[in-house]
Every structure is written in structure tokens, then in C-alpha cells.
Amino acid sequence: MSLNPNRRQLLIGTAASLSAVGLSLAIAPAMAENVRVRYFFWGGPGRSDRKVASVQKYAGAIPGLSIDAEWAPWGDYWTRLSTQIAGGNAPDVIQMDYQYIYEYGRRRVLLPLDDLVPKPMDIEAFGDQRLQSGKVDGKLYGITVGDNAYGIGHDVDALRAAGCEVPDDLTWDSFRDLCSKFAKVNTKPNYFATANLGGDIQAFQIWLRQDGKDLYTTDGLGFAADDLEAWLTYWQDMSKRGYAANADVQGLFQDKMESSLVVTNHAAMSSHWSNEVNPVSALVKFKFDMAPFPQRTPTGRSGFYLKPSQFMSIYAKSPYPEQSAALINYLTNTLASAKDQGVDTAIPPSPSVREALLPDLSDTSKRSLEFVAKVEQRADPLPLPPLPGNGEAVKAFEDNNMQVLFGNSSPKDAASAFIDQANGILTRAKPK
């Protein structure tokens, strides 16, 4: 092979500059004050940008620290996170969900955080239950960013125009009456009193807990086909009467806040999380508020619970556990960060931060806070974390409700079909 001098020079030049890059990469970790922490989280536009700005402000105040904060929508987040981990390119600070913390914790992807408390993470004031929720097999893998509660998000204006309002002490019967009252007045085509929540597994979980059952035990399903049949029958009836969305309209909901039937103007009520009050209010023209879920009886178990909205975790092989932990402390435990973010992500877990934040809150934030307080009064303990395979089971759950709504299947058949499918899914996903 013969190269002419020009090409050879070019090659030598390239090689030299490549090795220079390699050299600087090798030096970087050695210089203590040149730390670059990567932080990856899920979110939506607006609130995520506020979070990035807040994190940059924090990094700017600490010499030698730089933070790469990236975000993705919920659905893409998990795909990108798993590919980054597989590619040996994992972020240092990882956002976790209650649904996945066991899968990631047990696969040793996450760093046990016990040694990083109370320094740099001074989080004991969060309370035992909140810290407990981030533990897997007795080890702390995730720091909660705060509480979130599930409830009936609703269009206050549309309901008021129909002479309705959502009380705090709904039962499933009075909820049906409320929808009936609304449906009688409503004239808008393709618009309903409520979304059909028959396929909403988290709403079903609250219904189950009101009966003293739950979705999962430690090793399988916590309910029988009869329980599910009753639930599917309730919602089939709601749609048949024209109170809840029919199959064609319900299909427009795509598992994200922006496609909620309340947001897209197809229903006056639907299920929402408390941290969605702000972002939903930014998307719609009407007044959006939340109310607790209906109960079986006014005095029975509520089945409600406060869910850790999100966790912050650290990658097991992160070169900067200290700096990562300090960032987590900033995001979960300081007034500065809480002021930047409000209650976009959750109600802050630290009592002192929460209190200091109160006077500055916007109307919508206050609504979110008040709703969480209502749920907290009646809350039962946090359910066990979902078993591996939950993601697939959630989809099967939705599909079986749709089979009922499309008239392809009776509630009884759909319920036993789901039990079969879910058992298969859980067995296959069981860690070996």
C-alpha cells in the first residue's frame, strides 16, 4: 500500500488529534473539580424545562461541577434508559418509578444509597414511610421526590353549567347518579360525563382495596375473576347508559396526560394524578380540579394511598456517587429547587420545605395540595410494589375492558381471560 505524502500527513494529523482527545478524557476524572454529572428524567415540555433550568442554576453555584440534564416523555424514557444502560452509557442520576424500582434494584443497576444518608442527603425528616417506599430487600435504592395522589380530575366549568359539582365523599352509586344528572343536560356529541375507567388498572386497584384486596400479593394476583367481573360490569353499564365514553371515544385516550378525555374535551371527568393539576390547567381553558375517588360505602375503607411520585436513584457504576447524591438532595430537599419547580412533580416530601413553599403557590398548585391533603386524611397504607411483568399486565387489562366495550366479550369472559393472561405474563416475567 502506498500513500502519497499528503494523505499520510492527514492521517498523522488525525491520529494526533484523536490521541489528544483520548488524553483529555483520561485526565478529566483525575481533576477533582471537573465533575460532569449526567441526570436523566421523564417529563413533559414546560415543567421539564423549568427543572433543567433549576439544575443548571445549582450547578452554576458549585465550581467545577457541570450537569447534563436530559429528559424524555414517559414512554420513551424507559426505552432510552435501558438502551443507555446496555450500551454502558448510563446516566449518573436516574429517575425511577415505583413500578420499576424492584426490577432495576434487583438487577443491580442501582446503587444502594444507605451510606449517603445523612450526608450528603439529609432526608430523615421525610419520615419513615416515605423512605421505606424506596427500599428494595431492605436497601435504599430510591429517594422519593414527594407524594402524589390519584383521583377524579374534572372540568369544573362544564359540570357547573350542567348544575353539577363533584363532592369529596362520592360513593360508586352517587358517582353514577352524578353522571346521570350530567348526561341528561349534556347535548355535545361525543362528549360524556366521564371517561370509561374500566381499563384503568389503578382505579381498579382502589376499588379492590376498598374490599380489602389488592392487585398483587408478593407472588401473584391478589384478586379473583369475580372481583374483576363486578368492576367491568359497572363500567359496561356506565357506557351503555351513555354516562361514560363509548369504545370509539375511549380509544382516543393514549395513556398520557395530554390525551386524557378531559383535556381533549370528550368528558367532564377522568382519572388524574395530583401533580397533573398544573400541567393540565396550562393546556385547557376551563377550571380543572380534583376530587377523591368514589368509595363503596361512605364509612368503609377508602383504598386511597399516597404514592411516591417519582424516585431519584444513582447508577450502580457511577463515578460520582457523592456529587450525584448532592444533586438528589438539592432536588428533593431544598427550598430553592422547590421554588423553581412548585408542585409540578410532587408535593415536596420535607415538611419544612413544604411549609416555606406554601405562601408562594399559585392557585392551581394550591388546588393540587388541597386535594392531596384530602386524600391523606383517609389514606390507607401504600400497596406492595407491582410485580415484574406489570407493564404487560396493564396493557392486557386495558384491552380486556375494550373487548367488553366493543361488545366482543362479556364482563365474565373478559375477567377470566385477563386472569389467564396475567398469570402467564407474571410467570414469564418472574426473575429466575
Binding site: M1, S2, T79, S82, A247, D248, G251, L252, G391, F406
Partner: protein, 313 residues
């Protein structure tokens, strides 16, 4: 799939190579020019393909190192996976409907444009446009809006007194909206048909009409036979494309293949297994099965082609 049957004669180029070697340029330069393609092929196509073949025999979950499980993934595909069978059904239905419809429509438009129309380049560009933008995310979202229960299509239907269903939210119709979307992207086969039609000598039609052959008969006896190489090419390319379809269903169903798995394309199922449920090993096995299916279809097309494809002598 070259349209021409001429191949370079083997003797003369080798003389050239010998001449070049004497001049000291050698094969090195040739390989150097080949290098960019070769690196891309090995690094981005062959390498990952071989790795996926290996992974298809493991239980790789992206988070932990892969563990060898032998033929377990393939055994599950063959026996215990009803979703696999369903995804095959959806994909075959899509391929068998979308490809013939798209090709017929493309040929129809090409023939309409082939009549010495004024401003042909403009029309050609306009009709080609959907093919450029059709696979984009924006169009998939637009499609969702058009065919929603209160979308534009139903708005038009309401004008004539029909209450349409939710075309994309109803599992009975959702796949057909995707087929319509595919047919709408008829541009690239149309361009190729146009080029093919131009090749047919005009005097053939002249002679035929003097002999009293009808337009339809001319189409059957002249246009179609002479166009078979182009039809063959288009059919193979479009079939492979249709098997690989992913974006429309991914965007319109939000990655679920819904409603009720009615748009669960094979590629989408594969994607769900890999990234939704972290079963990369299983997904790799699915990918190899797809490769085998597409290869079988293509081989079948080539084997039968000599019975119906007429090349010019």
C-alpha cells in the same frame, strides 16, 4: 434486481487491473475507496445482524449480561406465542392488501400522466409528494386527526347524513386506515411505472389500433406484458417495504398496536418485546424469523418470475 440484463464482460476489466498494478497504484486504492462502504456494512449491518443472531439464543434483557438458552426462544415462537401468530396475521393482511392496491393505483395514475399532458413534471412532483412525507411522524399524527371519531372524515360524512365510526379507534377499521395511508404513498412506484411506460414503443399501439384492438385489449396485450419487469421490480420492493412497516402503526397507536392489537405489525411486536418488556433475546429471535419470511417471499417471487415476467430481447 437490475432491470437490464447486460453484464460486464469478464476479460477486459482484468486487463485494466493488470495494467494498473504495473503502474504501482495496485489494489490498495480500490480497497481504500471501498473502505467507507465496507466499514458501514460491517459496523452497522453485518456486525449487528450477527450479534442479534447470537442474542436470539440468549435471554438478554439489556440490563444484565446475556445467558445462553439454546433454542428456547424459537421454541416459544413456534408453539406458545399467540401474539406472534396474531402479528403475522395482521402483517400478512397488510402486505397482501396494501401492496396490490398501491401498485394498481400507481399504475393507474402513471397511465393517466403518460398521455402527453402539459405540465407533466409538476403533476409528477405533486403526486410524488406523499411518498416523501408519508412515512413521517407528522403525517401519522395528521392521519390520527383525520380519522378520529370527531375528525375531518366523519365531519364530511355527517354532511351527507352518515355518522361514521372511530376509524382508528375501532379495531374493525383501524388496519384499513393504515392501508389507505400506504396506498396514498404511491409516488415512487408511479415514477418507476412512468419510466417503464415511456419505454414501450408507440408504434405498437398504432399498429394495434389499426387492427381494431380496443383500448382495454391494448392494455392487456401490450402494456401489461411489456411492463412486467417493472411490475416485478415494484412488487418485490414494495412487499419488502410493507413487511418492514413500523412508523404508521407506532405513531397512530402510540406504540401499542391497538386498538385491541388490530394494528400490531410484526415489527411493532418485535419492538415491544425488545424495548417495552426488555426481552431483547426473544426480540432478536423474532427478527430472524422475519428475515426468513421476507427472504422466502422474495425467493418465491424470483422463482415464479420466469413464468410471467417478459424481458425484452
Amino acid at each position: 434486481m437490475s432491470l437490464s440484463t447486460t453484464t460486464a464482460s469478464p476479460d477486459r476489466p482484468s486487463l485494466h487491473v493488470a495494467a494498473r498494478e504495473r503502474h504501482g497504484v495496485g489494489r490498495g486504492a480500490g480497497y481504500l475507496f471501498l473502505l467507507p462502504w465496507f466499514l458501514g456494512f460491517v459496523g452497522l449491518t453485518l456486525g449487528p445482524a450477527l450479534i442479534s443472531l447470537y442474542l436470539s439464543f440468549t435471554n438478554y434483557d439489556l440490563l444484565r449480561p446475556p445467558v445462553w438458552v439454546g433454542l428456547a426462544n424459537y421454541a416459544r415462537i413456534a408453539t406458545g406465542d399467540s401474539k406472534f401468530a396474531h402479528a403475522i396475521h395482521v402483517t400478512l393482511l397488510y402486505v397482501l392488501l396494501a401492496v396490490p392496491l398501491k401498485l394498481s393505483f400507481a399504475l393507474f395514475v402513471a397511465m393517466a400522466l403518460n398521455r402527453g399532458l402539459k405540465g407533466l413534471p409538476l403533476y409528477r412532483a405533486i403526486f410524488y409528494l406523499p411518498s416523501l412525507i408519508g412515512t413521517s411522524v407528522a403525517i401519522a399524527i395528521l392521519w390520527r386527526q383525520l380519522f378520529a371519531v370527531d375528525g375531518l372524515v366523519n365531519g364530511l360524512l355527517r354532511l351527507i347524513g352518515i355518522q361514521g365510526p372511530g376509524w382508528i379507534t375501532n379495531p374493525r377499521y383501524s388496519l384499513y386506515t393504515l392501508i389507505v395511508l400506504a396506498v396514498w404513498q404511491f409516488g415512487s412506484p408511479m415514477i418507476i411505472f412512468l419510466a417503464g411506460l415511456r419505454q414501450i414503443p408507440g408504434d405498437m399501439y398504432e399498429v394495434a389500433s389499426i387492427d381494431g384492438a380496443s383500448r382495454f385489449r391494448q392494455f392487456l396485450k401490450i402494456t401489461l406484458p411489456l411492463l412486467t419487469p417493472v411490475i416485478f421490480f415494484n412488487a418485490v420492493v414494495q412487499t419488502i417495504d410493507a413487511f418492514k412497516a413500523f412508523t404508521p402503526s407506532f405513531i397512530i397507536s402510540n406504540g401499542t398496536g391497538g386498538p385491541l392489537d388490530s394494528t400490531l405489525f410484526y415489527t411493532l411486536y418485535l419492538y415491544q418485546e425488545a424495548f417495552g418488556y426488555l426481552r431483547m433475546g426473544y426480540a432478536s429471535a423474532l427478527a430472524w424469523i422475519l428475515l426468513i419470511i421476507v427472504a422466502a417471499f422474495t425467493t418465491f417471487a424470483f422463482l415464479t418470475s420466469r413464468f410471467w415476467v417478459h424481458y425484452d430481447e
